[in-house]
Amino acid sequence: MKKINIWAWIILFIGMIYFFLPLISTLEFSMKMIKDRYTFEAFRVAFTDRVFFERFGYSVLWALLTITLSTLLVVPTAYWVHWKLPKARPFVEFVTLMPFVVPAVVLTFGFIRLYARPPFFLNDRPILLIAGYIILSLPYMFRAVDTGLRAIDVRTLTEAALSLGAGWGTILTQVIFPNLRVAILSGVFLTFAIVMGEFTFASLLAKPAFGPYMEEIGSMRAYTPQALSLVSFLLTWASIGLLQWIGRGRVQEQVAGAH
């Protein structure tokens, strides 16, 4: 028994080293901007760059838009598949895997070829960027929502609501969405993290997003990009932490309610 415990700790420790060592050395490197001294100068430079905030803000905005549209697209679709078309599930799941099958570069050129000509003329609109981001988010959003839907008895809950006179709008907003809250959130945070770091779409469509900015900085300076990648890493962590905190909050509320 004791022996197993020790081994578990050792394996955990090795895992932690594997995970943290690159981070620590990145941090160490980023703090060496001024010779012979450890400082946060690189971080100061990064954060005082006006462009950093512009680019970051731009990406946050599009990430939020992507999340909203992707949720509005995925939740009703996944719900409908569960309730009426369970046979179509493998097909829909396959479609959502598109970003893993078709490389982003190919997707972007496909977009441009299709939409940049009559009758669309959409080549210069951010809508192409959003469309790309939504496709990127599909595997994560769909899987999260799909798992959430499996955990509730979609069919019976829908029928119960129908027999009480509810229409589709009411069922989606009052029964399905609230019960998928945690599932949707996990998809949302993954999408957020992905959109924040996305490079290909934004770069090929020449949009001032955060991903290309990191790339530009990386080719121009030595220390700041290390600081920036740490910052974006921390932001991703913060997102996931937020998700777990919200999820845990719900469980606690339920347990507390039981007394």
Partner: protein, 353 residues
């Protein structure tokens, strides 16, 4: 005209016919149960009344109005599911008030009705609990209240007690029957449990393989099964092949053992093959009272079931079950003993098909 009419309804799923030519007239305030083995089409029939499935054929008429093509959310029908199906994100009061809110009732009326419903199910102090904080029985009572809050014309229950413990099942089924009587609501109750169907229904529809086998009061269904299926599915029944000996006197022979039956054997000839059956409780030992049929037997097995003792007796070559009330002051026979059992000629049923 009956309140709810199911006229020549059938339902096909691809090639399989889940329900065929279903016909039933239900009067206002009546509780009718659909009884049959799993997969016989009970749920499908109920779902067609609820509007979740469209009949392939036939019409459904409620209160004089043809509702066959009406969407489920416009029908005046309440539904209770086996799995309770309470909305997990809403409190008990939220669940009960859900339909009222959709009907745009005032907050005052919603609260008032919700309170009424909580009183009806004897759970007034549970208004603010969430479904996961309730036992199965309590959840099902809330589901019942939720279905009744809109005062629907018809209440549909699909095996509402199947997921519960035996004890709660018995008390809750009495409660459901009480509430149904008190409100005078027309109800269809689906179950595969014959005791449930017999104990709480005004009428029972016995179904098998998508077809109605027999419709009747519990008394009729139990005592006068019309088909072999009903006879064997409802209650424990002894059945055996027999041959008509004398149709005029009601004599039949089972492997040479003669029985006399009160059933009408008109239209049958000597030598016709028939199926005969006797309920276990209709047999007695022939010690104190001798009836129309007096039969030599051997005791094969004795099972103590509490209030009842089930004894297997071999008559001729066939083993029959015989139930006697448990009497602690009476000595039971021993396995292997020879004896005599008796039953009246009314107890010997000749089943038509």
């Amino acid at each position: 005209m009956a309140f709810l009419e199911i006229n020549n309804v059938s339902k096909k799923f691809g090639a399989t016919e889940a329900v065929s030519d279903f016909n039933l007239q239900i009067e206002k305030g009546e509780l009718v149960s659909f009884l049959g083995p799993s997969g016989c089409g009970k749920t499908t029939t109920l779902r067609m009344v609820a509007g979740f499935e469209m009949p392939t054929d036939g019409r459904i008429v409620m209160d004089g109005k043809d509702i066959t093509d009406m969407p489920a959310n416009q029908r005046d029908v309440g539904m209770v599911f086996q799995s309770y199906a309470l909305f997990p994100n809403m409190t008990v009061a939220g669940n009960i008030g859900f339909g009222l809110k959709i009907m745009k009732k005032s907050a005052e009326e919603t609260n008032q009705r919700t309170k009424e419903m909580l009183d009806l199910i004897n759970m007034p102090e549970y208004a603010h609990r969430y479904p996961y904080q309730l036992s199965g029985g309590q959840q099902q009572r809330v589901a019942l209240a939720r279905a009744l809050a809109l005062r629907p014309d018809v209440l549909l229950l699909d095996e509402p007690l199947s997921a519960l413990d035996a004890k709660i099942r018995v008390s809750l089924r009495a409660e459901i029957r009480d509430i149904q009587r008190k409100l005078g609501i027309t109800a269809i109750y689906v179950t595969h449990d014959q005791e449930e169907a017999l104990s709480l229904s005004d009428r029972v529809v016995v179904m098998n393989a998508g077809k109605m086998e027999q419709v009747g009061t519990p008394f009729q269904i139990y005592n006068f099964p019309e088909t072999n299926f009903v006879a064997s599915f409802v209650g424990t029944l002894n059945t055996a092949e027999a041959e008509v000996v004398d149709p005029a006197r009601g004599l039949i022979s089972m492997d040479g053992v003669q029985f006399v039956s009160a059933d009408d054997l008109n239209g049958r000839k000597k030598g016709d093959k028939v199926r005969m059956s006797v309920r276990p409780e209709r047999f007695n030992f022939a010690d104190d009272q001798k009836k129309d049929n007096l039969l030599d037997c051997t005791i094969e097995n004795i099972t103590f079931l509490g209030s009842v003792v089930r004894i297997q007796v071999k008559i001729g070559k066939t083993v029959f079950n015989m139930d006697t009330f448990n009497n602690p002051f009476l000595e039971l026979p021993k396995i292997g003993d020879n004896g005599q059992v008796t039953c009246s000629k009314e107890a010997v049923l000749v089943i038509s098909h």
